[in-house]
Amino acid sequence: MTDIMPVGERQPIAPPVDETGPLGWARKNLFSSWGNGITTIVLIGAVGWILAWFLDWALFTANFTASTGAECRGSGACWALIREKYRYIFFGSFPYEQHWRPLFAVIAMLAMLVMSADRRMWNWRLLVIWGVGSFVTFLLMFGQIHIPLSLILFVAVVGGAIGLTLRSALAAANERAAYYALIGIGIVGLALRIAGVLPKWSIAIAPLSYVETSLWGGLPVTLILATYGLAFAFPYGILLALGRRSNLPLIKGLCVGFIELIRGVPLISLLIMASVMLPLFLPSGTTIDKFLRAQVAVILFAGAYIAEVIRGGLQSLPKGQFEAADAMGLNYLQKTLLIILPQALRVVIPPLINTFIGFFKDTSLVLIIGIFDFLNTANQALVDPNWAGFPGEVYLFAAFVYFIFCFSMSRYSKYLEVELNKGTRR
């Protein structure tokens, strides 16, 4: 035997030190050669010069108090314009003295989004949060909500069906009976309603004056379009992605066809179709709110993109995961919900949030069909002849607001990646 030092008796040797403090770091990374040093100095100089110029324009020589555009001339940024117009930019043509309503609607939506960002809420609480949040938002925006009987019955059927499918494995007998009862009551009620036995009746909740969607504008419009657009497009995209991988040729064909068709046209053309062409096909007398049509167009469009992102995640899973789930006797729904989607969605968080951010900004295209989203109201604020000539300030302000939302989403994506991969990293 040769002599081998027993494990554990060897003195640990520290790794070699090549970075000694910030100075060492700078020497290594910024000034490692003459060329690097000169580049660093030139770049720092350029950034400093631009920053100085910008601060001078945006702060030191800026005008915050002018009462007309003319007073602003000759000085730096005309923030007085924003001060004058911010309520229009944020809330559009919503009746001026009622602006507290869209303000609280925005707060309600943000609260809803922040709460549902927390992973601990991802259970039945999410339904409550979205139910309450949406109700408050739309009650504030509309002022009055009429819930028709047929909608209540429809929700009963859907709710019962969802409960039955998702809880089939765990529900006790009387819980299952309750789901059947819900479905039964819903279907019988709907049939009676269609037959005309039940009257056209609705629950009216009307604490405020009614404000129609054509008067909505600004930030709440952008937030509603993006939030509900993505909230519906996400599950819809999941279904499309699963359908595209289905073994049933008809379902697969439909999903592929839909995805390719929607992806192949610009969102603008889809919006124009929804706003101009769709009414032509509807029977005369029926109208669908323009805002709703735009919302549906956004959902369909986003759904196709999200589907392709999620399909990437589904394809990245090893075949063994599907086989293991099959071999245990899980059915398709269990396999998909418990094994496949949790893993596939984790993989696609970065591209998914990327798509979300893209769509948040793409909602501004609704200005094409005359809906006043945040960018459009900002744009309209420039029309005032008293304040002509300061587009830079307004667009910079709009860009800043968009940036806050998009950057938050980006940070959230980072948090989610870390949070969901806790412990599972190799």
Binding site: A325, L330, R426
Partner: protein, 256 residues
């Protein structure tokens, strides 16, 4: 030895394959396979790679679909009927070469998932069963970790415990030690030997001839989609009759 302990001819068959044929495209991967597995019987299937041995056991729980012939598991004939397939999968546990644990679930959740969702076992009871099985495969302390934090041998033992959680009547092993580092093979084989001694019906695709000698009632040699030869292990290793068997045994035993 288990094989000599009782007369298998009097025991009921739990798996029957009759003239099973399967093609992958034009490639005839299984040719006229006939196999009868008795309750409690331990079968080891070996053969060169591409001989169809994995495909054969994957047909038994319908991970692969055979095109001709009959496969009867526990009296149920396999067909496209989803209910039949799910019923059979509840009775048949499977262990894969690449473990296939679910990386997003803890070890304990990996084990309790199928009992809770497929068998509707109450969560608490499922967890008790899972812990007792983790004890049996000697890694109860890993219950709250994730699969990625375990060694290959530990993962494969978890995979065995996960299959056992469903209280299967039959266990299928598809090269369970082939993906393991050499020093981990034994810990997995020990668990499998223990399981065999307890009377589980097992079909195991493996090249571990020591395992075959220790527990198998029958060793089956497959080549080019056919069952070439089958015999009791002693006889199989001592006097292989077919030339292809001799060649194959010469190649693998050379390495042991």
């Amino acid at each position: 030895m288990a094989a000599t302990a009782r007369d298998l001819s009097k025991v009921e068959s739990v798996i029957q394959l009759k003239d099973v044929n399967k093609w992958f495209g034009q490639f005839h991967v299984l040719t006229d396979i006939n196999l009868d597995v008795k309750e409690g019987e331990k079968i080891v299937i070996c053969g060169p790679s591409g001989s169809g041995k994995s495909t054969l056991i994957r047909c038994i729980n319908r991970l692969e679909e055979h095109q001709r012939g009959d496969i009867i598991v526990h009296g149920v004939t396999l067909s496209n009927d989803v209910k039949n397939i799910e019923a059979i999968r509840r009775e048949v546990g499977m262990v894969f070469q690449s473990f296939n644990l679910f990386p997003h679930l803890t070890i304990l959740d990996n084990l309790t998932l199928a009992p809770i969702w497929v068998k509707k076992t109450p969560k608490k009871e499922a967890e008790e069963i899972a812990m007792s099985l983790l004890n049996r495969v000697r890694i109860p302390e890993q219950a709250l970790k994730y699969p990625g934090q375990l060694s290959g041998g530990q993962q494969q033992r978890v995979a065995i415990a996960r299959a056992l959680c469903m209280r299967p009547k039959i266990m299928l092993f598809d090269e369970p030690t082939s993906a393991l580092d050499p020093e981990m093979v034994k810990e997995v084989l020990d668990v499998m030997i223990e399981l065999a001694r307890e009377g589980m019906t097992m079909i195991c695709v493996t090249h571990e001839m020591g395992f075959a000698r220790a527990v198998a009632d029958r060793v089956i040699f497959m080549d080019r989609g056919e069952i070439v030869e089958q015999n009791e292990p002693e006889e199989f290793f001592a006097n292989p009759r077919n030339e292809r068997t001799k060649l194959f045994l010469g190649q693998i035993l050379h390495n042991h």
